[in-house]
C-alpha cells in the first residue's frame, strides 16, 4: 500500500473517529513541526503553530475529497499558518535558541558541530524572503515533489521551478557570505556529480 493510500485511508477513518486522526498526527507531526520551526525560527511558537495546523486540518476533514493527496494539502495549511504568523510579527523575531535535535546517535563533539551548523544555516534561511524559504524547505528538507509543491502553493509547476532556482542562488550567496560553506560541515553524502566534474 502506497503512502498516499495509507493517508487516504486514515483521512476517511478520521472523519468519523477522532482517534484515527491521531495516526495522521503521528505520521506528520515531525515534518510539520520542522517545517514550521525552520520557517519561523522559534521553537515554542512552532509547537503552537503545529497544533493550529493540525486542528485546522481536523476541522476541515469533511471538506477533503476522498482519495485526494493529503500531503500537499497539509503543507498548504502549514505554509498559510507560517506566513500569517510571520506577517503578524514583521519587525520582531529574535532567533530562538536552537531546538533540541532529533538525532542523538553522534558523538557529543559532532552533535555540537551539528547544532552550530543548524544555527548558522537556520539563520541564513530566515534571511530569505518567505516565498523562497518555503520552497527551499519543502524541496530540500521535507522532500516534496515539484507536483506536491505546486499543489501546496497553488501555482503552476513552472513557477515552482523558477522560484526554487532563484531561491537556491540566493541561498548559496548567503551561505557563502556567512561562512557556512566551509569544508567538512555537511554529513557524508555523495555529491551529484560524476567524476568528470570534480
Amino acid at each position: 500500500m502506497s503512502m498516499a493510500n495509507i493517508d487516504s485511508l486514515l483521512v476517511e477513518q478520521a472523519k468519523s473517529e477522532p482517534e484515527a486522526f491521531g495516526e495522521l498526527l503521528l505520521r506528520y507531526q515531525d515534518q510539520v513541526y520542522n517545517y514550521l520551526y525552520r520557517m519561523i525560527g522559534h521553537r515554542e511558537d512552532a509547537a503552537d503553530l503545529a497544533q493550529e495546523v493540525f486542528l485546522r486540518v481536523y476541522k476541515s476533514l469533511h471538506r477533503f475529497r476522498a482519495g485526494a493527496p493529503f500531503r500537499p494539502w497539509l503543507y498548504k495549511i502549514a505554509t498559510n499558518v507560517a506566513i500569517n504568523y510571520l506577517r503578524a510579527r514583521r519587525a520582531t523575531l529574535p532567533l530562538d535558541e536552537e531546538a533540541p535535535l532529533r538525532e542523538d546517535r553522534f558523538s557529543p563533539e559532532r552533535m555540537a558541530e551539528l547544532r552550530e551548523l543548524g544555527h548558522q544555516v537556520g539563520q541564513v534561511l530566515l534571511q530569505l524572503p518567505e516565498a523562497y524559504r518555503a520552497v527551499i524547505l519543502m524541496r530540500h528538507i521535507e522532500e516534496l515533489s515539484y507536483e506536491e509543491m505546486a499543489q501546496a502553493l497553488d501555482v503552476p509547476l513552472g513557477t515552482v521551478k523558477v522560484r526554487l532556482h532563484r531561491a537556491r542562488l540566493l541561498l548559496m550567496e548567503k551561505l557563502r557570505a556567512s561562512g557556512a560553506l566551509s569544508d567538512g560541515n555537511e554529513l557524508q553524502r555523495s555529491p551529484t556529480t560524476p567524476s568528470a566534474l570534480s
Binding site: P18, F21, G22, L25, L26, Q29, D30, Y33, N34, Y37, R38, R43, A47, A50, Q51, F54, L55, Y58, K59, E98, A99, P100, L101, R102, E103, L114, R115, L117, G118, V121, G122, I136, H140, I141, L164, H165, R168, L169, L171, M172, L175, R176, A180, L181, N185, E186, L187, R189, P191, T192, T193, P194, A196, L197, S198
Partner: protein
C-alpha cells in the same frame, strides 16, 4: 555551450532533469571552465549543507494538546448537532404524556360537573368530595407535565436567543 547557458542548466543538472545529451554538454563545459565549475560546486555544496540541517525533536505537547483539543471539539460539536432535536423531542414527549394523563381525567371532571347541575346543592357537596378524591392525581400530573414542557420550550428559546445575540 557558453557560460550563460551553462549557468542556467546547472540547477536542472542538479535536479537530474537534463537529457543525457545536454548533461554531457554541460559536463564538458564545466570541465573546461573554472568559473562555471566553481559555481556548480558552490551550488552543490549549498544543497548538501542545507540537506544536512539537523532535524528538531517535536515537543510532546504537539500531539497531546492537539488530541485533547480535538476531543473537546468533537464533544461540543456533537452537543450542538443534537441539542435541538433532543430538546424538541423531550418537549414533545412530555407534552404528549401530559395530554395522555390529563384528558381522560378531564372527562371524569366534566361529568362530575354536569352531575353537580342536575343534583343541586346536596349533590354539589358530594360531587365536590368526589372531585377531591378523584381529583385525579393523574390530571394534576398531566397539567404539570404540560406546564413543564412549555417551560423547557420557553427556556430553550430564551437561551438560544441569548447565545445568538
Amino acid at each position: 555551450m557558453n557560460c550563460s547557458v551553462a549557468q542556467q542548466l546547472l540547477q536542472l543538472y542538479l535536479d537530474h532533469e537534463l537529457e543525457p545529451v545536454e548533461a554531457r554538454a554541460l559536463e564538458d563545459h564545466v570541465a573546461q571552465c573554472a568559473e562555471c565549475r566553481g559555481q556548480f560546486l558552490h551550488l552543490e555544496r549549498s544543497l548538501l549543507t542545507l540537506e544536512s540541517l539537523p532535524r528538531a525533536r517535536v515537543p510532546s505537547r504537539v500531539y497531546n494538546h492537539t488530541m485533547a483539543q480535538l476531543r473537546q471539539e468533537r464533544t461540543s460539536s456533537f452537543l450542538n448537532k443534537f441539542q435541538r432535536p433532543l430538546t424538541n423531542g423531550a418537549i414533545t414527549l412530555v407534552a404528549l404524556l401530559g395530554l395522555l394523563f390529563a384528558l381522560p381525567s378531564s372527562a371524569d371532571l366534566s361529568s362530575v360537573l354536569f352531575t353537580l347541575d342536575a343534583d343541586g346543592l346536596d349533590g354539589m357537596v358530594d360531587s365536590a368530595m368526589v372531585l377531591a378524591v378523584s381529583a385525579d392525581l393523574s390530571f394534576i400530573a398531566g397539567i404539570g407535565m404540560l406546564f413543564a414542557a412549555c417551560s423547557i420550550g420557553l427556556l430553550q428559546l430564551v437561551v438560544r436567543h441569548q447565545s445568538i445575540s
